[in-house]
């Protein structure tokens, strides 16, 4: 149980129209090397801020207190090389006027020191690994020619191109429909296992998190409410808020809300 990332007393505040807004308050958390950790919370919980803080992507207007250390790395991490980041909206993270192949090859070339032809060969392998249909022609395709799910596969390929230690998926499946979401979650699980990556999975969906993660951290209003193994969080939450989130999940086995007697058909 060695920590890849060690977060101590992390506080992040934003300035908005003269007011100081705290997005994260005194967060202390270890991300264990090789684990799949889910961060769940509702809007305004600070879960995305945490992901951005770990990746060093916070906007310049934010003030950061506390420490984020990388004992598992022994040096400062490099985004793209040590951290792969998958955003919610693949259309926004992919360059619309650059071919898929070039976008992935560029990551491999920059961080692995490959030549362009080696990098393109690597890009093709990666497109095969993310199970994009017809990787040969996809290399020369542009993002707008792909569906939302396919674009997210490309974004994942680019994120893992340099063989990062940590893969961060920030609501990476929220914009996709249920079937594609399940496929992408299965893909992430498979890739993480194959490459021995550590996964930080940010989601608002506690059921989705429970399916993928070994541990779950529950956030609310910028604070860490509860952290534990998935089984413990789902079966025996200690905090009322976690209980509320679990109860609010409407699964396929949930009791119907509908009073059918009300319908006079």
């Amino acid at each position: 149980m060695s920590a890849l990332v060690s977060i101590r007393d992390l506080t992040v505040t934003y300035r908005r129209d003269g007011n100081v807004v705290a997005a994260l308050k005194n967060i202390s958390l270890d991300i264990v090397a090789g684990e799949r950790l889910a961060i769940i919370g509702e809007s305004g919980s600070g879960k995305s801020t945490l992901a951005l803080a770990i990746a060093g992507l916070l906007p310049a207007s934010s003030a950061v207190g506390g420490r984020i250390e990388w004992p598992g790395l022994g040096r400062a991490p490099l985004l793209g090389r040590d951290i792969g980041f998958v955003f919610q909206d693949p259309s926004a993270s992919l360059d619309p006027v650059m071919t898929i192949g070039k976008q992935i090859a560029e990551v491999a070339r920059t961080h692995l020191g490959l030549t362009w032809s080696q990098a393109y060969a690597k890009a093709k392998t990666l497109l095969e690994r993310v199970r994009l249909p017809d990787p040969d022609s996809a290399l020369h395709a542009f993002p707008h020619q792909l569906s939302g799910g396919q674009k997210q596969r490309v974004a994942i390929a680019a994120a893992i191109a340099a063989g990062p230690k940590l893969l961060i998926a920030d609501e990476a499946t929220s914009a996709l429909d249920t079937i594609v979401q399940a496929e992408i979650v299965a893909l992430i699980r498979h890739l993480v296992a194959e490459d021995g990556m550590t996964l930080l999975f940010i989601s608002h969906d506690i059921a989705l998190a429970a399916q993928l993660a070994e541990r779950i951290a529950v956030f609310r209003h910028g604070q860490l409410v509860e952290l534990g193994t998935t089984a413990r969080i789902v079966d025996a939450p200690t905090q009322a808020y976690t209980r509320t989130l679990l109860d609010a999940h409407i699964g396929l086995d949930a009791a119907p809300l509908l009073n059918r007697a009300g319908l006079s058909a």
Binding site: E42, S43, G148, L176, D177, T178, I179, V180, Q181, A182, E183, A186, R189, H190, A193, H204, D205, I206, A207, L208, A210, Q211, E214, T230, V234, D235, T244, L245, L246, A248, H249, I250, G251, L252, A254, A255, P256, L257, L258, N259, R260, G262, L263, S264, A265
Partner: protein, 261 residues
């Protein structure tokens, strides 16, 4: 007599020289006070059907009968007047309101357009509508972008019920809400249905929610009806390929094999 009867509805789009059939020969009906859910993956045509039923877009073929009238034959002022009976709530309440609007203006529009309340009477009616959806009346002067997502969706529902409709199309109306808010909004919708006998065309990709709130469900795949029937019966034992895939893909809190891939 059905409240809404849709038969052989078809809508094609031309995209880059190719014709895409978004809705292909779809027929269904909704009874007063009933919730019919449309579910399916993205691109299955559920939102297109919603917009066709509301006559926000026009079909290429088919018929829509609403409250015993040929809804597609209505034009101009007659159509606008009839819209009072058929309302809609969108997925993203922020996008569904004019960014410059206040809560009061959003609720005043339907009252004014359909002559439901005189100018002097409107503030009282707006307060009553806000109260009906569980909001404080003093929210009225606030700007839409200032209030929370859950409050906004309640305002959207208040706007939809302002004209006393018999049918409300809910296009992913709870999908963008936080889970803790989602339950409250669903409770509100069911309460309105019970008391005012409003029917819902409930469009959602979330089978769990569909199973919990709908009487009947239609599963769509590539613009066609793949399967339909009693919501719980269909979702508990889907027969179609798309139904099986949707059920298998729904996230589950328990009973999942942690390390299968």
């Amino acid at each position: 007599m059905s409240l809404l009867a849709v038969s052989s509805l078809t809508k094609r789009y031309r995209r880059g020289g190719k014709t895409v059939i978004a809705v292909d020969d779809v027929s269904f009906h909704i009874e007063p006070g009933e919730t019919l859910a449309l579910a399916g993956p993205s691109g299955s045509g559920k939102s297109t059907i919603a917009r066709l039923v509301l006559r926000l877009i026009e079909p290429d073929a088919g018929a829509i009968e609403f409250e015993s009238d040929d809804f597609l034959a209505l034009r101009g002022a007659t159509l606008r007047a009839r819209r009072a009976r058929l309302q809609m709530v969108f997925q993203d309440p922020l996008a569904a309101f004019n960014p410059r609007a206040t809560v009061a203006r959003v609720l005043e529009d339907p009252l004014r357009i359909h002559g439901i309340a005189s100018r002097t009477e409107r503030p009282r009616r707006i307060a009553a509508l806000l109260e009906r959806v569980g909001l404080a009346a003093d929210l009225a002067p606030r700007a839409i972008h200032e209030i929370s997502g859950g409050q906004r969706q309640r305002v959207a529902i208040a706007r939809a019920i302002a004209t006393r409709p018999s049918l409300i199309v809910l296009d992913e109306a709870v999908s963008a809400l936080d889970v803790s808010v989602r339950g409250q909004i669903l409770d509100l919708l069911l309460d309105l249905q019970r008391k005012e006998r409003i029917a819902y065309l409930f469009i959602s990709h979330d089978l769990g929610v569909v199973r919990a709130v709908a009487h009947r469900v239609i599963l769509l795949d590539a613009g066609r009806i793949a399967e339909s029937g009693d919501a719980r019966a269909v979702i508990d034992a889907p027969q179609s390929a798309i139904g099986k895939a949707l059920v298998a893909a729904a996230p589950r809190l328990k009973g999942t094999t942690q390390d299968a891939s």
